[in-house]
Structures are given as structure tokens and as C-alpha cells.
Amino acid sequence: MTDVSAKPSAAEIMVWLEDVPDPEIPVVSVVDLGIVRAVAWDGDELVVTVTPTYSGCPATAVISIEIEETLRRRGIAKVRIKSQLSPAWSTDWIGAGAREKLKAYGIAPPVDDARCIGDLKNPIVECPHCGSNATEQVARFGSTPCKASWRCRDCLEPFDYFKRF
């Protein structure tokens, strides 16, 4: 018989999942990025609903494995990962704390509506190294699907920009 009282709550599990790093940007967690949409118990099975960032992102499979392993270590025997496409993942779900972590790591966080100077297609992006706004896009794509390549005209450093999506 299952002891219901022994089951950790969804809120508690979400806190555990904050320890699961994104495989390609390890300073932020899969919860920070908004990849984990929900956790819920279905009997004695824990269902974790995740959404892909980009449909072909190779990190997606690794993320599912890491979530399962983390939960197993916490003593949850039965885990099911459910993929959900809608609503489609958006960088608007990346919280303020995670944006600061990205910046400290050298990745310019996505420019959203509220923060946008210029227009959204051609945003003004602050250099994560020196804080200058004199930056320019080098290429619309970068080292991972979620990033574009930029450079700073003041400190002359190249940097990754987490594209608004």
C-alpha cells in the first residue's frame, strides 16, 4: 500500500529540480529556463511535464535523463517525462534571477518587450562584460540553437546573446 503522506509535494519537487542544470548553460537550471512546466502525481508515478526550447535542441534528451536521475536519487521510483508543445516555450519565462546568472556567466540575457531599446528584431543588447550598449550582432546564430553571436565595440569582446524567442 502506498503511504500518501510520504509523497513529497509538487512544490518541494520543483525546488529539487532547481538543482538540475541546463546541460549547455550549467549556470541556469531547467526550472530557471521554464523548461519544467509542471509536476504532478498520478498514483505512485510522478509525471514531469517538460517543453522543448527549440524543437531540434540536442539538450532536450539529456535534460529528461537528468531530471529522472535527480528524482531517483531523491527516492522517487516511478517517473514519467511528458513532453508538451503548447504553449510554445518562450524566453519571457526566464526569471529575473536567471537573467542575472546568465549575465554573470558572460551571456547577454534575452531582451524582452519591457527592456527593449530599439526594435525587437534589432534590439540593443548590453555587453555582459563591460555593460556598454555599443554592441552589434555578428551572426543570427551561435554555439547553441538558443544563442546568437554578438560583439562589443567598446571592450571589443565577443559574446553570446540569448535570443528572445
Binding site: 527549440y54 524543437s55 508543445l85 504553449p87 510554445a88 543570427r140 546564430f141 554555439s143 540553437p145
Partner: protein
């Protein structure tokens, strides 16, 4: 004994057509990896290919689910012959030079975006969900190709003449995306997919504006080259599939 469930053939065809366009184009542009004229474009082409492969998996998983015969997205991608592929002819055109690859991509992206946008309101929820995801990626793809065809079309004499030659050759293939057949008519009447005439109007209006800005001229009265969406392909698709499917054909069920 349970009677075999009837397969929704129109929906199955839609999923194949959408998925096959994605995978054939992804395979084509993947061949540029390590060969593109500049590093940034090399990375861009590989990233676009990755998005399209991701989208392929969503569409072909759906096709397999509708068919109900236990075929996975991998089975459909690697174990179907050319006649069973339902991509439009444009995407199987060989890579040619960079101008040709770019023009092919632009003509695809310019159709892909309004098509996915319309599919977001499909009466079939699984189609709407995939379209919602893919549309965001397609929008970003078109922003890049639009920017590049304008810069290169309205660029040097050399870049202009190469872009124009690519357009002359590829433009006749564009019409196939929006030339409806009985399957499209059924999908439209069931509100699963938009009427292709509506997408066609948006597509050609957009092309006219963008190509004018790029100082490029679309051929007038070019007959539409089609057949791929019915499984009637050019010779080139066979070679593409031979390369793409080699591993699964030679070593059935191989995994890593």
C-alpha cells in the same frame, strides 16, 4: 476480432508532406556543414537544419501515430523509398552554389511561415500544437534569409547575377507549395489546414515585395514544376535518400 480502425489518410498525408519538406531540406543544407563561405553562415545553416530535423520528428511522429501501424518517426524517415516521400520538388533541388542554396531556403521559408501560422488554428489539436512550436522557428529563419537575399540581390554585380540565376531556376518550383489537390481540399473543408489559395496569395504578395527590394525579377508566366507532393520526384531525391538512409538500410535497427 476488432475491426481495423480506419486511417485518416488526409491527416496522414498532411503530416508526411510537412515532415518530408523539413527533412529533405535539412539533409540538403546539412551538407554545407564545414563548407559554407563564412563561419557564421556555416553555423546558421547547421542551426536551421537542426530546427528542421526537430520539426520533422514532430510531424513524422504524428504521421506514425495516425497510421497506427507502429512506425516511428525514424522508421518513416529512414525506411521509406522516394515514391513514398511527399515533399515538394523545391527542397530536393541540389545545393548548387551558396546563392542557389540561399534562394531555395528563402522560397521555402517564405511559404513555411504563413503555412504554419495558419495551421496554428487547425481543428486538429496535434497539428495546431506542432505549428505553434515550429512557427516561432520559421519566423527566425525567414528573418535571416530575407535579410540575405536583399543584401546579396542588391549587392555587387557578381552577387546580384548569382541570385538572379538562382531565382530564374528555382521560382517555377515555388508554386507547388500552394497548388491544392483533392487531399488539400479535404483538409481545408475539415478546417485541419488552410485553403492553399489563401496561403498562395500571402506567399506571392510577400515574394513580390521582398524580391523587388532585392532588385530581383521573378520569371513571368513560368509553368509550375510539381509532383513531389504526390510522390513523383526528380532523380536527385533518390541520391539524397541513398546517402541519408544508408546506415539503417545496411545495418537494420542499428542504434548508438
Amino acid at each position: 476480432m476488432k475491426a481495423a480502425a480506419k486511417i485518416d489518410m488526409a491527416l496522414f498525408e498532411l503530416a508526411l508532406r510537412m515532415g518530408d519538406n523539413d527533412i529533405v531540406l535539412a539533409q540538403r543544407i546539412s551538407a554545407w556543414c564545414g563548407h559554407a563561405p563564412i563561419l557564421e553562415e556555416d553555423i546558421a545553416l547547421a542551426n536551421v537544419a537542426l530546427d528542421l530535423i526537430g520539426q520533422t520528428k514532430l510531424w513524422l511522429d504524428l504521421a506514425g501515430e495516425i497510421e497506427g501501424a507502429g512506425r516511428s518517426a525514424d522508421d518513416l524517415a529512414f525506411l521509406r523509398d522516394a515514391r513514398a516521400y511527399k515533399n515538394a520538388l523545391l527542397v530536393e533541388r541540389p545545393n548548387g552554389d551558396f546563392a542557389y542554396t540561399l534562394m531555395r531556403q528563402f522560397l521555402f521559408d517564405a511559404w513555411h511561415l504563413p503555412m504554419l501560422r495558419a495551421l496554428k488554428s487547425s481543428s486538429e489539436q496535434r497539428v495546431a500544437d506542432i505549428a505553434e512550436k515550429a512557427e516561432k522557428e520559421a519566423r527566425y529563419h525567414l528573418e535571416r534569409t530575407e535579410d540575405l537575399i536583399i543584401r546579396l540581390g542588391d549587392g555587387t554585380q557578381e552577387s546580384h547575377s548569382r541570385m538572379q540565376a538562382a531565382l530564374d531556376d528555382l521560382y517555377p518550383f515555388a508554386g507547388e507549395f500552394v497548388a491544392p489537390d483533392a487531399i488539400d481540399d479535404e483538409l481545408a473543408s475539415r478546417k485541419i489546414a488552410p485553403a492553399l489559395s489563401e496561403i498562395g496569395a500571402l506567399y506571392f504578395d510577400y515574394l513580390e515585395t521582398a524580391l523587388a527590394e532585392a532588385t530581383l525579377k521573378a520569371p513571368v508566366d513560368a509553368p509550375v514544376r510539381k509532383g513531389g507532393r504526390k510522390g513523383l520526384h526528380s532523380e536527385e531525391l533518390g541520391y539524397l535518400l541513398a546517402e541519408m538512409q544508408f546506415l539503417q538500410r545496411a545495418y537494420p535497427g542499428a542504434k548508438w
